[in-house]
């Protein structure tokens, strides 16, 4: 496999998204401990219709200022690319994961992460993406991408990540 390390990384992302589809073609944690884990094909990075292209070339994430959930011009530009891709590849669905940095309490950060994921959701829908194809989830501060306790890491953690799934929603 050409992009093995990337695929493992993506598998990790999907695991953290922990979606419970009932079809083949995506990571499935399903029940609490016994269901099999299936690995999906993320495609090739040079294939513009592949989830890997979405993630690595278009950019799967946008970043937020401290305590805020509003989208910057840069974030909107990234999301324009995501919306275009989603509109061109209707067989995929998506989960938007909202995250915060580690400052703040568990409960408040869950709510703040939900606000951020919802900002992305609303923007994508405003760009013509069909709402039912997208689900949102917040991980609050529980899944940091960078682990240092400094602004350079916090800035990477205040994010919303669009995770592409091969399963049609609904």
């Amino acid at each position: 496999m050409k992009h093995e390390s990337k695929l493992l990384f993506i598998a990790g992302l999907l695991l953290s998204a922990c979606t419970s589809g009932n079809d083949s073609g995506e990571i499935n944690l399903g029940g609490i401990n016994s269901d099999p884990i299936e690995i999906s094909d993320m495609g090739q990075i040079d294939d513009p219709t592949s989830p890997l292209y979405f993630q690595e070339v278009l950019g799967d994430r946008v970043f937020f200022d401290v305590d805020l959930s509003s989208l910057s011009a840069e974030a909107k530009s990234t999301l324009d690319g995501q919306a275009e891709w989603l509109n061109a590849n209707p067989e995929f669905s998506a989960i938007i994961e909202g995250h915060t940095d580690e400052q703040g309490t568990t409960e408040y950060n869950l709510a703040l992460g939900a606000r951020r994921a919802n900002s992305v959701f609303e923007y994508l829908v405003s760009q013509g993406v069909d709402g039912p194809r997208i689900r949102v989830v917040s991980f609050g501060k529980e899944r940091p991408f960078e682990v240092c306790s400094a602004e350079m890491c916090y800035a990477q953690n205040r994010r919303a990540v669009t995770v592409i799934s091969a399963i049609p929603a609904g």
Partner: protein
């Protein structure tokens, strides 16, 4: 008698006159609300083993009682090597002079009887040494031998209550989240333990993220947030059979931050729909939920008053997270925190007079308490990250999560007295967060 012992005795006697202006005829009493407290010296000689099988239990029970009492910061155990008197029979009168000589203000005597293999009985008496009399009645506590720790905690609770006049708290449990693995991909499971960190047992496996477990008022259920479906949902776990089920299960929503009402009939929680988080109240028996707040702001971390009539919670409707109180039936909320910084996770004291909270100000976190009208705010701790207070059953001690800085940062549990004294880390086998302290166990 050796020389060092003599000088030790002298030092103890000298300190007795300054530290304890106890009237020799008045009752022995620690007033916890007083200013700085010099721990009260007490002696707890080895409990009398009524048969050879009781030896080990007698030793361990004394250890637990001693750890309970000294752990409060209010008592100091006089080491056995300094004792002059010996207790060889539980029923024989004590020689007060022997214990006065080492400045033992209180004396605890006891005996342990292991009958058969499963049944254990512990007798104990408490003496006010300088008044020369017994404090309260001697008690006999019996139970299965495997419950020897609970019996020891019961004895310590009796001693604590008789001397401080406060309700006890040693015979209690803590439910929390065990954390293992690196910070970016931490595994979490629900665990339960005695208040002092003994008897840790896991309640769930670590396949999904779990957050913030809370006891039901009778201690029989634990309610928590689980990512079992991939989305945060409120689950309830029965401690009896270990089974769990989703309590709030609405597709397209997230639910978290649940807490029981004091009568156990309702659960207040946060539900997020369309990016907006509000408070809801569920009737546990019917499963029907009623919406309590209708604001575009975040409303979360609700907690009931002990009488069940009011709910304290966090809202950022002012632009920053602050504390509010509303009637449990819904309606307008009153803001109670006005200090600088962010205020979060208000938790009502079991006595009803104080609210504990998390405060974030200038990159520092604090656990603090304030009166329910927001007055008399006092910060009890300060660190890189302190969060999520929970009260001891008697409202004297607060347990919380402290997380250390950086990539190697770890969460652990700490306790602090509501006076701000006696800050201590609780030893746990793994990282630990999100504690909830149970009511006093029967």
């Amino acid at each position: 008698m050796t020389k060092p012992l003599k000088s030790l005795l002298l030092a103890l006697l000298l300190s007795a006159t300054s530290a304890f202006s106890q009237n020799s005829t008045g009752p022995l009493r620690i007033e916890i609300t007083d200013g700085v407290i010099e721990p009260l010296p007490f002696a707890i000689p080895d409990f009398v083993a009524e048969n050879p099988e009781s030896n080990e239990y007698a030793r361990k029970i004394v250890e637990v009682i001693t750890a309970d009492l000294t752990g409060t910061g209010l008592f100091r155990a006089i080491p056995a090597r300094a004792h002059i008197g010996r207790i060889t029979s539980f029923s024989r009168p004590v020689e007060y002079l022997d214990w006065m000589a080492i400045n033992a203000q209180a004396l605890v005597t006891g005996s342990v009887d292991l009958s058969g293999t499963r049944q254990i009985s512990v007798n104990f008496r408490l003496f006010d040494v300088f008044a020369g009399r017994e404090m309260g009645k001697g008690l006999r506590m019996s139970g299965k031998s495997e419950n020897w720790r609970r019996i020891a905690h019961n004895v310590a609770d009796e001693i604590y209550s008789r001397i401080t006049g406060e309700a006890p708290y040693f015979n209690s449990k803590v439910v929390f989240v065990s954390e293992t693995g690196p910070k970016g991909e931490r595994s979490r499971k629900l665990s339960i333990m005695d208040y002092d960190g003994a008897n840790v047992a896991n309640l769930t496996d670590d396949q999904s993220i779990v957050l913030a477990p809370r006891f039901s008022p009778d201690g029989g259920n634990v309610i928590f947030t689980s990512y079992q479906t991939g989305f945060p949902r409120i689950h309830v776990l029965s401690r009896k059979d270990g089974r769990q089920r989703p309590l709030v299960d609405q597709e397209g929503t997230m639910s978290f931050s649940p807490r029981y009402s004091p009568d156990g009939r309702s659960v207040v929680y946060s539900l997020t729909r369309g990016g907006n988080t509000d408070l809801y109240l569920m009737n546990v028996s019917t499963g029907a939920s009623k919406r309590l707040s209708y604001a575009p702001s975040i409303e979360t971390a609700p907690s009931f008053s002990p009488d069940g009539k009011r709910i304290a919670f966090t809202s950022d409707r002012s632009g920053r997270p602050q504390l509010y109180i509303a009637r449990a039936s819904g309606g307008d909320a009153r803001r109670i925190s006005f200090g600088r910084g962010n205020y979060n996770t208000p938790v009502w004291s079991p006595r009803g007079d104080l609210i504990a909270f998390t405060k974030q100000h200038k990159n520092r976190f604090h656990i603090g308490v304030m009166r329910t009208d927001g007055s008399e705010e006092r910060l009890l701790t300060a660190s890189f990250h302190d969060e999520g207070p929970t009260w001891s059953p008697n409202g004297r001690v607060i347990m919380f999560t402290r997380e250390t800085r950086g990539a190697q940062g770890m969460a652990s549990l700490y306790t602090v007295d509501i006076t701000g004294r006696n800050l201590k880390r609780l030893e746990t086998p793994t990282g630990a967060s999100g504690p909830d302290w149970s009511p006093l166990q029967k």
